[in-house]
Amino acid sequence: MRHFVFALLIVLPSVDAVMPGHQARAEESDQLWLAPFSLTGWAETIQSLRTHSPNDVLTSRARLRLEMTADFNMLYAFVSGDAEKNWQIEDESGLDLQEAWLEHAADRWDLRIGRQIIIWGKADGVQITDIISPPDYSESITRDLDEIRMPVNAVKFRLLGDAITTEFIWIPVFEAAVQPTGDNPWAVSSERAENEQVAMAETIEPSTSLENSEVAVKVAAWLSGLDLAASLFYTWDDNPTYHRSTYSTDDVLHIDYSPKHHRLIVIGLECSRPWSDFVFRAEAAYYVGKYHETDSPTIDPLKKDLFKWLGGVDWTPGNNWSVTAQLTGDVIVNYDAALADEEMESMVTLNISKELFNQTLTVSGMLYFDLNEGESYFRPKADYAMTDALHLLFGADIFCGDEGNFGKYENNSQVWIKIKYSF
């Protein structure tokens, strides 16, 4: 709590100093040369307490986001960056450039070059085809979805029809997903047998070269009553495959890991269709060349194609209620019994949200439930707009289960409070 109060004292006056009167748009000033520029952003601080013993602080950080745009008609520029102080995960502290891109938009095409976040797909909180921008799981999935995506250095070119958009993406520099490591409280590793000794080599990442580029193409149709899209992504797996060699000495099993990223081809399909108060969504992707972990330390990961799918429905019954339900699954093609994952895995998600008091208070709850493992992650949240600019949020991250994707974080269940100031 000391950090929280400290962060508040730092963040809020600093915002006022940067944005006196909370009015950033330069066109309202007398300095016309500033007219193309605008500066916006937010400052927030979050503090949490672990609900399990020892009930210590689990998340404690303050962040300032600045976003600057420059509109020169022919050319539009966007730059965003973060300044963060993280009292729990020291590696996260510091300055970080988020996006920095230039865009030219013509009537029938547009081009965006630079560091950018690219989001695909119809799914909510689940990644099926949405793998262009790699995820940052430094705090598992407890961060808001927009904070989990990392930008990529890319060229995005779109051909713009009235109803059909064709998108080409070239990513010359590989970016890997970020997993929690070291002292990070979210770096939870599964227990090993006492007679195992592990050595981890440096991860082999693809070097930057033309042949190591990632390329994607997507055709999307926005029709009356139906959205459709098909995509092809020639990429690298954002997560490395933990290849291994093993040998034994004096009853000790030595495992030498050599993590390496592999090529993937991902073929995707998306659609959504409204009907009355509902919008039905579906998304599927076929991953060619995906490596899967085995359940034995002596067996190298196996290469098996993977089919991921999702069906969902959004329901807006009125009176400021909204309900989103999704069923999603993974199917490993030509399954091998040595694999750690099951041949078919499925999960449901449910998000219920209600706005109250003239939309000043939003109460919501997002549930992920793993149907195979019986594990769950529940994120209730209350967001109160104290003013147009200042929001006070309360919430919790509740993990239930054993050793699975959610259960392994059970001891990291937390309640949190957050203050966010937008300008």
Partner: protein
């Protein structure tokens, strides 16, 4: 008429006059239009082929606390259908959120709507029938703001009255759909401008909201609303809506109303 009567026998003349007494005199139908005709004129009031404006909403709660919403509007007619884009400028946390709608004249055809959310950098399809939702915490529903088809209500002319110095038709509109959030509306329509200058919204418990057009002018030959308010008498909450920088027929490009445009995240 006199010549015809003189040629008829007296009994026949009497019957003829009796018959004629049931026929309204010429021109009577033109001076007293039906409720439907009045509301159709309101709906069809000329407003150019395309239009753009800057809308500011001031939300005032019962304690006098104010919240501001600012939205840039663009719309264009495509035959009898209309496409529009709203770009949210304030409050800051929803800045650059864009709402695209393709509204169809045919009431049996569901409107198409998409929302671009800058935080998620993503466009998502939203259901076309969320017309009874309140717009950005204001006291206006999407329907109140003009999305509603004339055929969705039955309209009855009640009287001719003067409201705030305006010579008005008083029309009662009752939703065809019994599940509608309002049970009835009483509307006062300025006869010259074909514009609603006052409206009372009722639900099953009685009076819910009162709308007033506070200021409107004729600009470029089109009646233009400058300021209006919606007073929710139940929640004791009020929204004042002001329109500025309204322009007509400026040649807004068709491309503005594509999904790919709002997907860009910066409407220009």
């Amino acid at each position: 008429m006199q010549q015809i009567i003189q040629k008829l026998p007296s009994v026949q003349a009497f019957l003829f006059l009796l018959l004629m007494s049931f026929i309204p005199p010429p021109g009577h139908a033109d001076t007293t239009p039906t409720g439907l005709a009045i509301m159709t004129r309101v709906d069809d009031r000329p407003d150019g082929e395309d239009r753009k404006s800057l809308m500011t909403m001031t939300l005032i709660n019962k304690n006098g606390r104010k919240r501001i919403r600012e939205v840039r509007n663009f719309s264009k007619d495509f035959g009898k259908d209309k496409k529009s884009v709203m770009v949210f400028l304030k409050p800051a946390d929803v800045k650059e959120t864009a709402f695209l709608s393709w509204e169809y004249d045919d009431p049996s055809r569901e409107d198409d709507k998409w929302l671009y959310m800058p935080a998620l950098k993503k466009v998502r399809r939203i259901s076309g029938s969320s017309k009874n939702e309140y717009f950005m915490g204001s006291d206006f529903t999407y329907d109140d703001m003009g999305d509603r088809n004339v055929e969705e209500d039955t309209h009855t002319l009640l009287a001719e009255e003067s409201v705030d110095g305006h010579d008005c038709w008083k029309v009662e509109s009752i939703p065809v759909d019994p599940e509608d959030m309002y049970t009835r509306k009483i509307l006062w329509i300025n006869k010259d401008a074909d514009m609603i200058v006052k409206a009372e919204y009722y639900d099953k418990d009685g009076l819910l909201k009162i709308y007033r057009a506070l200021d409107f002018i004729q600009q470029d030959g089109f009646w233009t609303l400058l300021k209006s308010e919606m007073d929710d008498v139940v929640r004791q909450h009020k929204t004042v809506m002001e329109m500025a920088k309204t322009e007509y027929d400026t040649g807004v490009k068709d491309s503005l109303f594509r999904v790919s445009t709002i997907q860009r995240g910066n409407i220009r």
